[in-house]
């Protein structure tokens, strides 16, 4: 514990599977979440490719109608509950949040470990559901179909329920950590913007996820005991389930996108070597998105028979989400203006997200609008829209973030050239996959069907080809990262010039994060460090160097 040997770090100070599975170290838990999301992503991704292959041409190609229903359900359930929800909040959040804050760990390390164990348990349930009859309800588990189908609804719902509690406990931990564990000097407005985003995310996790929990529990009770609350045959109301479900699941969209936005704020500042533009506005916009996210769920129920007045109100509130979202995007663009831009893999992902989130966000307005949504509801337009947001924005940010913090996590540099190449290829493939789906949607192709009318064939073929490019490129992105573990160059403590606290500790960090107490300053004051070629990284500027003239000289020399 008291070692100062620099070769001892959190990865190697204890060995063996048990030392990982039973660890209380937030960094190790973060890594395990990360590997778990990668495995789940490959699983959910292969479901997606199977779906696209089936849709390559009209009529039955490689799977039956029923199997197709199972596939799209499981693709959704795995990608949402096992990949995107835990991706940045649990995997990356666990790794960086305490270090960025300057704390030794999260507030409740045992609860944190319990969250991960719940995540694994939930994953086992989902996989058990796949093996014991599958699931064909769609990831939304809408009643009354979900109470009558004979697939493994109960096991899958229990899995989602358990994963929900994993998410709640992570959120609880982060909120308590940010409130109570900030070291002296770390005021709210000195917190990096990723922490603001994770805080806003955690608020959603603790307030919305329990409502999903009770909705799923009611569904189980409905199926097992026939209690009637959600069953129209017994006088119940299935739309109640939709309301409760979306009261969670709409905010859950922001559980996916808010931390991604936090990551982007970090990367745009660091890779532009510039003070973030509009720090407070970005911080407040995270909080306001979290608040507004709770009062827009009804826009999923425009066609479910809710009153027109209610739909109009939900529509109006939904439009307001555009304001804080746009504030963030404009601030990122302003941050890059006159910056010294470093086009790393992380930055390329971040730039890609501006394009993808721009499209995903703006097409959201079409569906917030009542009159257009009546036509677009349940078409491929919706499918494309939410893939642009959830995959294009959230998962691209996650991949960018993994590259950004990879040197910190493992102490090695990935191959930048290949990283750039395959990230750009993923981006191209993604656009080829999903842009045609907007056209398919506006032309009336409904979602969730395994077959389609012949006039949709060309665009579907294009989309399927795009999805193959994405599949291949993502595998190559992972391959490039994995290869660096074996033969990557040793990473310096601060390869990108970040000023947030995690760049002050070693790469990889020691078991207790910091050997010496870190100094807390402005998280985006890029003049606090300078590039040194010998180190191939950035080092802190000493006080005498802080003199503007000397600093300028040093920068030019470097």
């Amino acid at each position: 514990m008291t070692t100062t040997d620099p070769s001892v770090n959190y990865l190697n100070h204890e060995k063996g599977l048990r030392s990982w599975l039973m660890t209380l170290d937030h960094k190790r838990l973060g890594l395990m979440y990360m590997w778990s999301t990668f495995v789940a992503m490959l699983l959910g991704g292969s479901f997606a490719l199977a779906l696209r292959l089936e849709l390559f041409a009209p009529g039955q190609q490689i799977m039956s109608k029923d199997f197709y229903n199972h596939m799209f359900t499981l693709h959704g359930a795995v990608m949402i509950f096992l990949v995107i929800i835990p991706s940045i909040p649990a995997a990356l959040g666990n790794f960086v949040l305490p270090i960025m804050l300057g704390a030794k760990d999260v507030a409740f390390p045992k609860l944190n470990r319990f969250s991960y164990h719940l995540y694994l348990t939930g994953a086992v349930f989902l996989i058990a559901a796949i093996l014991t009859g599958g699931l064909d309800t769609g990831w939304t588990f809408y009643t009354p179909y979900s109470t009558s189908t004979d697939t493994s609804v109960i096991i899958a719902v229990m899995g989602a329920f358990i994963l929900g509690f994993s998410s709640i406990f992570t959120g609880l931990n982060f909120i308590a950590t940010i409130h109570k564990m900030r070291p002296p000097g770390m005021t709210w407005f000195r917190m990096p913007l990723l922490l603001w985003a994770l805080y806003a995310t955690s608020v959603i996790q603790i307030l919305a996820t329990p409502v999903l929990g009770i909705a799923l529990l009611m569904l189980i009770v409905e199926r097992v005991l026939g209690v009637g609350i959600l069953d129209p045959a017994l006088g119940g109301d299935p739309v109640l389930f939709q309301h409760l479900f979306w009261f969670y699941s709409h905010p859950a969209v922001y559980v996916m996108i808010l931390p991604a936005m936090g990551v982007l704020s970090e990367m745009f500042a660091v890779y532009s070597r510039k003070q973030i533009f509009g720090y407070r506005y970005i911080a407040y916009s995270s909080i306001s998105i979290a608040i507004v996210s709770f009062i827009v769920w009804g826009h999923h129920l425009y066609v479910s028979g809710q009153s027109t007045m209610v739909s109009v109100i939900f529509s109006a509130i939904t439009f307001t989400v555009a304001i804080p979202s746009a504030i963030k995007v404009f601030n990122w663009i302003a941050t890059m203006y006159k910056g010294s831009i470093n086009l790393t893999t992380g930055m390329i992902s971040a730039l890609a997200v501006i394009w993808l989130f721009g499209i995903g966000g703006l097409t959201g307005l079409w569906m917030a609008n009542l009159s257009t949504d009546m036509h677009l509801h349940d078409t491929y337009f919706v499918v494309s829209h939410f893939h642009f947001v959830m995959v294009g924005s959230a998962l691209f940010s996650y991949l960018g973030a993994v590259h950004h913090w990879w040197p910190k996590m493992f102490g090695v540099m990935y191959d930048e050239g290949k990283g750039r190449l395959w990230t750009i290829m993923t981006f191209i493939g993604f656009n080829i996959t999903f842009l045609p789906q907007f056209l398919l949607g506006t032309r009336g192709m409904p979602r969730r069907y395994f077959d389609y009318a012949p006039q949709f064939e060309f665009l579907n073929k294009v989309s399927t080809i795009g999805s193959m490019i994405v599949g291949l490129s993502i595998v190559m992105v992972f391959w490039n990262l994995l290869r660096s573990l074996k033969n990557g160059k040793k990473a310096p403590a601060n390869p990108w010039g970040g000023v947030t606290l995690e760049w002050q500790c070693a790469s990889p960090p020691s078991p207790h994060n910091f050997e010496d107490a870190p100094t807390v300053g402005d998280p985006y004051d890029m003049s606090q460090n300078r590039f040194v070629s010998d180190e191939e990284g950035y080092v802190p500027v000493t006080p005498s160097e802080n003199d503007p003239y000397v600093y300028q000289v040093k920068v030019e020399e470097a």
Binding site: A107, L172, H179, M181, P210, G228, D231, L234, G235, D237
Partner: protein, 240 residues
């Protein structure tokens, strides 16, 4: 950030006992918030059906035993009082008293569950169940009611004369009643386990005026369980 402290009561990632206590308590309050939202889905179901069918709810409420409900309210209030007192006793280092007070709390919790079991078994016996239950007398089609239940249920003669839609909605009332009180009952059982665990730790000598976080947090949880019942009792029993 002092790197090495040797106080065994202080976890390594906290700076001092005060920070540790504050953090633990803060975490518990956040957890209680999630618990309230967990129950909220059922409260929403209650609100929706009651506003749509207030006459049904007022009528159906008479089937609940108000006396037993009131008795249970008193039992839980007493248990919350002893739980709060136990926290105070722990602050003062009166560990013997803590065990006794937690013991009373647990006895009250068992008493609550016993009374609840009595209510449930009566409901089951009389067929006062949700419409989907086999033994229910609130089926839309009166011919599908189990004749054995219909024969001995004292309410059947009255219920069978009700309009079918009205009867069906009473079934929903009982669905909500059993979900809400059942979920609350599960929380009482968890509370019993927590308090027994606290008693064991107290007897073992884990707690002192310097560190009694667990008792404080356990009592907070118990107050929430109590509080939810304080809402359930009037909403379900006292509306007729």
């Amino acid at each position: 950030m002092s790197s090495d402290h040797h106080d065994p009561l202080l976890a390594h990632h906290f700076d001092d006992m005060e920070q540790q206590f504050d953090t633990n308590k803060f975490g518990m309050w956040v957890f209680l918030l999630t618990e309230i939202l967990f129950f909220s889905g059922l409260f929403v179901a209650y609100a929706v059906y009651r506003s749509n069918h207030s006459d049904v709810f007022e009528y159906a409420s008479q089937y609940l035993n108000t006396n037993l409900g009131a008795l249970n309210t008193i039992v839980l209030l007493l248990s919350s009082f002893t739980a709060a007192w136990a926290v105070r006793a722990a602050q003062l280092g009166q560990n013997g008293l803590v065990t006794k007070l937690l013991g009373v709390t647990v006895l009250c919790a068992f008493g609550f569950m016993a009374i609840k079991a009595e209510e449930y078994s009566h409901k089951y016996h009389e067929g006062l169940l949700w419409g989907g239950a086999e033994h229910s007398i609130f089926k839309v089609d009166t011919n599908t009611v189990d004749p054995a239940v219909a024969e001995h249920s004292e309410y059947w003669s009255e219920v069978k004369e009700l309009p079918p839609e009205f009867r069906r909605q009473i079934g929903i009332f009982f669905g909500i009643y059993f979900c809400l009180t059942g979920l609350h009952g599960i929380h009482v059982i968890i509370g019993i386990i927590v308090i027994l665990w606290l008693m064991r730790r107290n007897v073992r000598g884990d707690f002192s005026p310097q560190k009694y976080d667990a008792i404080d947090l356990g009592a907070l949880y118990w107050h929430l369980v109590d509080l939810i019942w304080i809402y359930l009792f009037p909403l379900l029993y006292l509306i007729s």
